[in-house]
């Protein structure tokens, strides 16, 4: 850690990991309700469990992004943060908002649209926190060195805030509602979040491999260009069946097929950088997470996304377990693994110790990655059967669900493995332990 103000990242990562724990816990409970439907059905119905599961996912990923930005921007800009106090104030607002939302959900206080169930006061709090954040990091960058990484990261973060404003617009016309809902949901995860992802990966490659900044920067711009060129019009793959014009079937099919390209480029980028890199960085766990991130994102977002993105295929698979399979691996690969990668990299530096508990961290990677992959396979099988029985043969929804029970048991099993992996990760991050590697911290700073 070169700059004192980078320390604020620690608080962000800590809160993010608490929400991560709540996300996977509610996830495994939801998976249990799938096979034992009467479980908690009076006390905590499935819709609330699922709401906490998805909302805590989104919020912890965003907290991770904020933490990552506060960690890497001082290093990139070569100066202290504009205001660490504002950064803490922003965190307090977000904690109150997220905590208030979760507790409120348990008492059935929620509103609005899927993933955007936060009560209005929480949404406004998020906007205020986002403004504080953007002011803080933008001032830091403006006063310091400007790099490709900070340019792209800031553009991504500004985009997140801008598109979130559509969460406040909720027309009574369901078709219009859905059209603008995707302005938040799709333009986040398949648009501006990818800018954040690419810039954080670029930062990590720079630090972990010792490749020239010039090379990393060119890759970064190429990747984010591919991401936005394909991803913006790729929104069309959500506009097939909600009342929007027929031309979206063509635009959506073509551009979302191209959405595989940026994810493929990220895989090539990370592996080529590691091969070319001259540096043997001691933080092997962070490197594993970074490589795992690009690889799993390629399969989850790229391959599994492509599986059901053509409109003729999507006509049959839309809203089945195929979607659930894709959603799980895409979010895990692209954004969960990304956050765990930067946390794995930053934590030893923030705590001014050696990269520690590496073996446990790497075991947790394989548990979570293996669990999520297995979950994706089981949900894919379930989805294929569901598509055939329900969409081709026309059997009733619940009759079909009853026939999928076997796969839901397998999914529950893989969910338990993911939870254990997550617990292990958190343990490896926080519980002090004698270092396994003994190289001095000074060596971990790259020369550039």
């Amino acid at each position: 850690m070169k700059y004192q103000s980078q320390k604020v990242a620690f608080a962000y990562f800590a809160v993010a990991l608490i929400l991560f724990a709540s996300q996977v816990l509610f996830g495994v409970v939801a998976g249990y309700v799938y096979v034992v439907p009467n479980f908690l059905s009076e006390l905590l119905p499935f819709n609330i469990i699922r709401m906490v599961h998805t909302n805590s996912l989104v919020v912890w990923l965003l907290l991770g992004f904020f933490g990552a930005a506060y960690f890497l921007i001082p290093e990139e800009a070569e100066r202290e943060l504009h205001s660490p106090k504002l950064a803490y104030l922003q965190l307090i607002i977000l904690v109150i908002g997220a905590g208030g939302a979760v507790v409120g959900y348990l008492f059935r206080i929620h509103e609005g649209r899927e993933f955007l169930e936060q009560p209005l006061w929480v949404k406004l709090g998020i906007v205020v926190a986002a403004l504080i954040f953007l002011y803080n990091v933008s001032m830091t960058v403006l006063k310091g060195r400007k790099t490709a990484i900070t340019n792209v990261l800031l553009l991504g973060l500004w985009g997140i805030a801008l598109f979130f404003l559509f969460a406040l617009y909720n027309p009574s016309n369901l078709a219009l509602d859905k059209m603008y809902w995707w302005y938040v949901v799709h333009l986040w995860v398949e648009g501006v979040w990818e800018l954040v992802m690419a810039s954080i990966l670029a930062f990590m490659m720079l630090k972990l491999t010792g490749v020239d900044r010039e090379v990393v920067d060119k890759w970064l711009y190429a990747i984010v260009a591919l991401a936005l060129f394909s991803g913006v019009l790729g929104t069309g793959h959500h506009y097939y069946w909600i009342g929007t014009p027929g031309y979206w079937q063509w635009i959506g099919s073509i551009f979302s097929t191209l959405e595989v390209a940026p994810f493929f480029a990220m895989v090539v980028f990370t592996f080529v950088m590691v091969w070319k890199g001259r540096r043997e960085h001691p933080n092997k766990a962070a490197l594993l997470w970074a490589l795992g991130c690009s690889t799993l994102a390629f399969f989850g977002a790229g391959v599994w996304g492509f599986l059901h993105t053509l409109s003729s295929v999507n006509y049959l698979t839309h809203g089945t377990q195929i979607t659930a399979a894709h959603g799980h691996l895409a979010f895990f690969g692209a954004y969960v693994a990304l956050n765990l990668a930067i946390i794995s990299y930053a934590m030893p530096l923030l705590r001014q110790r050696e990269p520690y508990n590496q073996v446990l961290n790497m075991v947790s990677f394989w548990m979570m990655a293996g669990g999520m992959s297995f979950m994706t396979f089981t949900l894919t099988f379930a989805g294929v059967i569901q598509t055939h029985l329900q969409r081709v043969l026309g059997e009733n929804y619940m009759d079909v669900q009853d026939q999928l029970a076997f796969f839901y048991w397998l999914r529950l099993g893989s969910g338990v493995v993911v939870v254990l992996g997550a617990v292990l990760f958190i343990y490896a991050m926080f519980v002090p332990r004698k270092e396994i590697l003994t190289r001095p911290v000074a060596d971990t700073q790259p020369a550039e």
Binding site: P45, N173, V400
Partner: protein, 150 residues
């Protein structure tokens, strides 16, 4: 990457290209917005009751079990066409009564069967919700879902 592609060239392609694609997207959004309002949905039939029904739908987070037009959770049946599945186009009164009776009878408590909570909706809320489902079923979704099963 080749030396032909300098860093500033890559940067300019990124910014210029992104603006280009975003401009197209915005133009198509404007067109789609007008298409939804004028062609694919029944704007005239979007009564206060339908709007209230949508509000009831949101207030109880129905989308976190059900899907509507294929989006939502995948735990409970698709409701975009529930009006059609219940025979609404042929027998509106029968479908309305059946849907309301179903919601009032929840939860079934049958062991091993997925449970829907009872939201204690008033008669008016139930009617509004049914009107909302009826309105949604008339959205021109280009033939989706493939059959009544949703």
């Amino acid at each position: 990457m080749s030396d032909m592609m300098t860093k500033s060239r890559a940067r300019n392609i990124f910014y210029g290209g992104s603006l280009f694609f975003f401009a197209i997207f915005l133009a198509l959004t404007v067109h789609s917005h007008l298409y939804v309002v004028n062609t694919s949905t029944d704007s005239a039939g979007l009564t206060e009751s339908v709007a209230n029904g949508k509000h009831v739908w949101e207030k109880h987070a129905c989308i976190n079990c059900h899907t509507i037009l294929g989006e939502g959770a995948y735990f409970a049946p698709e409701l975009g066409n529930v009006w059609v599945r219940y025979g609404g186009p042929d027998d509106a009164e029968g479908a309305r009564e059946a849907l309301k009776a179903w919601m009032k009878a929840q939860p079934t408590g049958i062991e091993g069967r997925r449970q829907m909570p009872n939201f204690n909706l008033s008669e008016k809320e139930l009617d509004d919700l049914v009107n909302f489902f009826e309105w949604v079923s008339r959205i021109d979704t280009q033939g989706w879902p493939p059959n009544e099963a949703g």
